[in-house]
């Protein structure tokens, strides 16, 4: 372990930057956020070589109440951190254009930076106490992003998010206090924190799972997610779905592998992991099933996120090295895919005001680049090669097979997991397929011939959305030239799509990191 101020700096940098926000010109706020996240990324990458060598960077500040502030960077934290900051930077660039017609820019940027700091704190910390602090910061600050539109829907969703987040946080706090009281430490890099043999362990375990599960959107604690993610501005939705629910998944991983520990689970606590695995499978299935019934694009994406976080949880609960690899790669893959999908959905809404899946037919002709990106990521979601979504599902499937071989569970569960994966891929196909096909297939000729339908669609859009949207939509129909958003919005979308493609073909980098992480827990 090497003493280094870098983890602290990474966590504090967005906070420090926030203080200087008043000196930023009003129309440069989103640029500022993007630059701050970019610099944070550079700071993280600066730690990368040292950590890849297997070092851990650490800074301990004593509080004197029996717990410390510990800022620590290890490989898993760094991995999630890099993904988060990359998505953050791109989403901030995207918001420069997207938030044009919005309001309260200063508030949005302040809380975006606060959330960034919270997210960095969650992944670059070495003990439970510090983790809790930044976990709460993330909950509260990101709630403001949900509130942002200030419509009654947004207010309702925001309150739901805030109170569930706080309630979950308090359950988490219960477990953390108990952990400290029993073991006297909250060190998160230990494997098996010292709760072995305590009669409170099941309580503590479920406390952690509930606390992190609320954030992750795990069944049955997911109820806030389908209402909160769609109402946020699309740049924020991308972050909420792509990054912030991963804080919960990260916590669940830490609970299983660091706080309880693989050895102890296998020996004494399979009774805890089995329900977790089942919950993971239910989450996958339920998210997909609900997504099929949705008519609104962002709501569908939100339900899809629930399903995808189910994959991650399942991967972690398989108790197999390849399961961990699959889960970790899926964190990475889902961040890229869902980030892009939400940004694309935002681009549709921004340019045409269309939210309903019904109305998005033929959008491929009007916004080819955005629709292309959307299609690639949707195919990747379904799990088709050569996209990154395929890689993660492949490793999850391998993990399921490995579980059957390892024999921690009744081997039927491996099979069930495998079948759920396949079934869910099918369900993904059911809800992503028609959107993609519809976007490209229903040609302009058809839409002209089916004039009544087209007009109807346009009318509902006009009725539902603001005047500027209606104008752009109408002019678009007249000119019939590309309506793709300008490069500021397009760059982040295309960059992420390129990531989906490139890492799908050459998954060596994330794969080697994921393997290195899993090797820590399965020596």
């Amino acid at each position: 372990m090497i003493k280094s101020y870098l983890p602290l700096l990474v966590v504090m940098f967005p906070l420090i930057a926030m203080v200087f926000r008043p000196f930023v010109q009003k129309h440069r706020l989103y640029h500022y956020t993007a630059i701050v996240s970019g610099v944070t990324l550079v700071l993280i990458l600066y730690m990368y070589p040292q950590i890849l060598d297997g070092n851990i960077l650490d800074l301990t500040l004593d509080t004197g109440l029996g717990f410390d502030f510990v800022f620590r960077a290890d490989l898993f934290g760094l991995f999630v951190g890099i993904i988060s900051v990359v998505l953050w930077t791109l989403s901030s660039i995207y918001s420069i254009e997207y938030m044009n017609h919005s309001h309260s820019h200063a508030r949005f940027n302040i809380f975006s930076l606060l959330s960034l700091s919270g997210m960095m704190g969650v992944v670059f910390t070495g003990n439970l106490f510090t983790l809790y602090i930044f976990f709460e910061l993330l909950s509260v600050a990101s709630a403001i992003l949900v509130f942002h539109e200030e419509t009654p829907d947004a207010m309702k969703a925001g309150f739901k998010y805030l109170f569930l987040g706080i309630a979950g946080g308090l359950v988490l706090l219960f477990s953390i206090i108990m952990t400290y009281a029993i073991t006297g430490t909250g060190d998160l890099t230990l494997i098996g924190i010292g709760l072995q043999g305590s009669k409170w362990l099941p309580w503590i375990f479920w406390g952690y799972i509930i606390g992190f599960g609320v954030k992750a959107g795990m069944f049955p604690l997911h109820i806030w997610l389908p209402s909160a993610h769609p109402v946020a501005p699309s740049g924020a939705s991308a972050l909420l779905s792509g990054v912030m629910i991963k804080a919960g998944a990260y916590g669940i991983f830490k609970t299983i592998y660091n706080i309880v520990g693989y050895q102890d689970i296998v020996k004494n606590h399979m009774g805890l992991l089995l329900p977790m695995l089942i919950i993971g499978l239910i989450t996958i299935f339920l998210g997909s099933a609900c997504a099929i019934t949705q008519t609104e694009i962002k709501k569908m994406l939100a339900y899809s996120s629930i399903s995808q976080i189910g994959y991650v949880i399942m991967g972690f609960c398989l108790l197999a090295p390849l399961g961990i690899v699959g889960g970790i790669i899926h964190i990475f893959a889902h961040a890229l895919m869902k980030g892009t999908l939400f940004m694309c959905a935002g681009a549709f809404i921004y340019k045409t005001g269309l939210r309903n899946l019904e109305d998005l037919k033929g959008i491929g002709r009007r916004m080819p680049w955005v629709t292309l990106a959307f299609s690639i990521c949707a195919l990747s979601m379904i799990g088709l090669p050569p996209f990154i979504g395929f890689i993660s599902k492949w490793f999850l499937a391998l993990g399921a097979l490995e579980t059957m071989r390892m024999g921690n569970y009744w081997s039927g569960f491996g099979l069930i997991a495998l079948l759920t994966l396949l079934l869910s891929s099918l369900l993904n196909l059911v809800y992503y397929g028609p959107v993609v096909i519809g976007a490209w297939m229903s040609s302009e000729g058809e839409s002209d011939a089916d004039g009544a339908h087209g007009a109807h669609g346009a009318h509902t859009a006009h009725a539902a959305h603001g005047a500027h949207h209606a104008d752009s939509s109408e002019s678009g129909l007249k000119d019939r030239k590309s309506e793709d958003p300008n490069w500021i919005m397009l760059t982040p979308i295309l960059t992420l799509t390129a990531g989906v493609l490139v890492f799908g073909i050459m998954p060596t980098l994330p794969l080697s990191i994921a393997r290195q992480i899993s090797r820590l827990f399965f020596p």
């Binding site: 004197g64 029996g66 508030r107 509260v140 805030l162 706090l173 206090i177």
Partner: protein
Amino acid sequence: MDSSIGIGASHLQVLIPVILITSALIIPVISKVSRKYREPFILAVTLASCLASVAIFLKVYASPTGYIEYLVGYAWRGRTLLQSGQPIGIVMHTDLFGAIMLVLVNCIGFLVCVYSLRSIHHEVPQEKHTYYYTLILLMLAGISGIALTGDCFNFYVFFEIASISSYTMVSISGRPESLEATFKYVLTGAFSSILIIFAIGLLFNATGTLNMNYASSQIAKIISSQAESPLYPYRYLIYASLGLFIMGFSVKSAFFPSHAWLADAHPAAPSSISALLSGLIVKATGIFLLIRFIFTVFGVHKGYCGEVLSPLFLIISSITILSGSLFAIVQTQLKRMLAYSTVAQMGYILFGIALITHNGLSGSILHMVNHAIVKSLLFLCSGIIIYKTGIKDITDMGRLGYRMPVTMACFTIGACSMVGVPPLCGFMSKWVLATASYQAGMPYLLIILLISSLLNAVYYFRVVAIAYFGDPKIKVETMDEAPATMLGPVCILALLVVILGVLVKYPYHSAALPAARMLLR
């Protein structure tokens, strides 16, 4: 200094209450002579007492015995002990616990005086400003005296000074509802005073002294005496006295069945006074003295009375915490909500006492300090809101966060600390209480703390959310902040909330924990 006047004695121990009381009496004269010297005089006096109390704290902290003692009147009487070794006369006995309270009182008192310079023009009739300042100084003198004193007689005098000045302060605005609230407050206050004076009588009867330390050693002798000893029957007097003290201070601390007066009295007073009442008076005349008597004087510990008091206190504190929070949720007026929240927080402090462990007690002391700061902050913020906009109802506060950004930012910090958002100070003291409850073998009590935190979140975040996202009642988009003399104290308190949270190890290890170790031997 001549050591014979007491152990590590400092003349400041006597001077603080004396100067405050004298100044309180001089103020009417000054305002008769020239009105313009009145405010500077107040500020000078409170600032001086603030500095003096810090000096006393440092002296106590550096003292090897952990306390400093001033024997009043030694210089002219020449002796302070009877032949039997029993001390006579007035004693100022300040230990770390008292010194913490003293610093807290005088610093918050000073800030409230600065705040009052402008705020009273709005909330107190013009002709009563002089009385207002007189009463505020009397109140500070009373609380400082309570924190400094070492004998029961003196304590009772200061207790009454603080109580009576606070009754008067509630009614100072002269509105009918504040008169009604005052009436309620005076009746319950008088009831508790009767219980306490009776308890002091019993204590004197049993031990033959009013000196707290000497009484404490006498009580230990009586309690440990065998059945055939002549001292043995006195133990029943001791138990009766302890019971009466606890009942008296419980009324003053607004524990569950006797909390009704607080919810009327605190909102009815001018906001600056509400801050003093909720932040200081409830603590100094209630829970501070409860701790002082049950631990310093009666020496309660696990083996003696602890087995009865601990479950009793736990039940009362649990009900107080939950009922205070539940009542706060249904309130529509901001100040009433804050008052009920005070009830809940007093429950937390009692919770730490009930554990009868060092950690629990240190958690209580820490929470007492934190709550004093945070609740003063919140009441002062609500005062600024009333001063600038006249808004009293929570539902009318829509978009206030844009109109008064600094005030609402400070309010939000306070609210977060109340809810227990780390790393603010409210979280730290709750953490200490929570770990203490586990270490005392009662981890299920954690759940009460957590449920109450959730309830706190419900009512505090509702206010914050309305202030930033709600629909405005009056549409004012421009910034409209209060004058600097009102914002300054609020900002300092908000800063303290953050600093005491992040740097909690200094107040905890150098003040709260040693104080708890001295109280609970």
